[in-house]
Amino acid sequence: MNPFSYQRATSPDQAIQAVSAPGTKFLGGGTNLIDLMKYNVEHPTKLIDVTHVGFDQIAATSTTTIIGAGVRNSDLANHDTIRTNYPLLSQALLSGASAQLRNMATTGGNLMQRTRCYYFMDTAFIHCNKRTPGSGCSAIHGFNRIHAILGASGGDTGSQCIATNPSDMSVALAALNATIHVTGPKGKRTIPIGDFHRLPGTTPQLDTNLNPDELITAVELPTPKFAKHSYYLKVRDRQSYAFALVSVAAGLEMDGNTIKSAGLALGGVAHKPWRSADAEKSLVGSTPGPEAFQRAANFAVSGADPHKDNAFKVELAKQSIVRALTLAAQGVQA
């Protein structure tokens, strides 16, 4: 790990001012950044600890819920408002990592998680367009069982990337249609969750559309619609403490036996949480059941472009969608 200086910011303004120096990064829980620094994948020269800037509250109004960016994953998952109104988010958070890591990880930090692509995380591999832009992609012809089947960049070797976003929380936030609040030297702005993470395109080194000098302040959840009918299904190589091969965040708003609205997002399949507007639209007005769910699943994976080792993900994703929607339709059991 390279040397770095450390500063504990006590206000957002102080944090934003401090991050303007080159080589500076914000530090949340550290569960991903410090890990990557140990691997020499990340090498900031200054860390600004933003866990003491006062973003540790969850505020609910009659229409929205505002989650401070510094709220720890475990606190968020177990907050009364979240458990009652957004159980999909609780379930997704608790599907991720371990109890220890969830006690450390922050909401903002979770949004900034980097990929778990082996070729990105191991600097012995020189070809990684995400780590070293223009160097190529070892994953495309390598072991790509865990990699993307949707939305990957198909460009030249200097921009190819089939990395996936590893977050569970972000998949639920996509299905819940969250909004990210950020602040920076040019002031505050909001970013819809769908535009926060990005597809690799020709710049796979960029995971998000957040500017380097901007700080996430909060995540806003809209009026709850899926409190009674939601499910986060995570399919992985072992039952706990593993990243998703495929995950599905499914939420249904019911009107009698008819689907009034739906939220559907996939994890483990793309460079960002994969939300399919066509799949969601196809569910509206339908009666819950295999026919509607399979149709939605087909829409969701439409255009899938698997690689040598991950073709199984296409069928896995489809079946997982049907199962998650089926469990969501059954409703809360407690």
């Binding site: 040397p3 450390y6 504990r8 140990k38 220890q100 020189i126 407690a334």
Partner: protein, 239 residues
């Protein structure tokens, strides 16, 4: 004792016909880079020049001099004023500076849980916590659980139920279990709670214990006894 010379020798792997060009060149680079960085590193140490970061692979590392920070770690009720390299993890500070070697270094990447300690009452991986991040926090390690000669109930339960074999993961397992029981007292959920539908105040079943302890790996496979120990401790029948 002598070592082979650290020169940029041709490696047989380079002559092999590359089935997967990228993979084999990766390996080639890896070996060459290692040899090169090793020699540069050796040179830097020899000359006493702090050039490591720039020497490694040319990435932009403005800071090449170790940075220090002054902090206070409150460990098991005692405050320690320390001046540490900012890179020092809480785990290394505990083990190397405070000689509290109960907390173990397993993977050093937050994947095994051997380093688990309680920070402000919550279980965390001390290997991914910088010591400076814990400045001012109350830290409890395995050394701080017992009251004199009286074991903490979770410690007693691990003894009673033989919740270990080699014992390397045990301090982390026990600290983790202490955190687990406290979390359960606050009616927290796990992913199992959603699978079973018990999302109000789930009973600490074996499935719940397994899920909630999944951040602690035991290479000896003492899991059945670890679960038994946690179950016993949760019911207050430790011994």
């Amino acid at each position: 004792m002598s070592f082979p010379p650290c020169t940029d020798i041709e490696d047989p792997i380079e002559q092999a016909p590359p089935d997967h060009p990228e993979t084999s060149s990766d390996i080639e680079f890896s070996r060459r880079t290692f040899v090169k960085s090793a020699s540069i590193l050796g040179a830097a140490v020899a000359t006493g020049l702090p050039q490591l970061a720039t020497a490694q692979d040319g990435h932009n590392a403005e800071t090449t001099t170790p940075q220090t920070a002054s902090l206070t770690l409150k460990v098991n009720g005692t405050s320690h004023a320390l001046t540490l390299d900012t890179r020092t993890t809480l785990l290394d500070a505990l083990r190397e500076q405070l000689t509290l070697t109960g907390s173990k270094k397993g993977c050093d990447h937050g994947q095994c849980g051997a380093c688990t300690v309680l920070v402000d009452g919550r279980r965390v991986n001390s290997c991914l916590t910088l010591a400076v991040m814990a400045d001012g926090s109350e830290i409890t390690t395995i050394e701080g659980l017992a009251k004199g000669d009286t074991l903490h109930p979770v410690q007693a339960a691990f003894l009673e139920h033989d919740g270990f074999q080699c014992g390397y993961c045990t301090p982390g397992q026990i600290c983790s279990a202490v955190g687990l029981l406290k979390e359960h007292k606050h009616k927290t959920l796990s992913t199992v709670s959603f699978e079973t539908g018990n999302t109000t105040n789930p009973e600490l079943t074996d499935d719940e214990i397994r899920e909630r302890m999944s951040g602690n790996i035991c290479r000896c496979g003492a899991y059945p006894n670890i679960v038994a120990a946690v179950r016993a401790a949760s019911k207050g029948v430790s011994a």
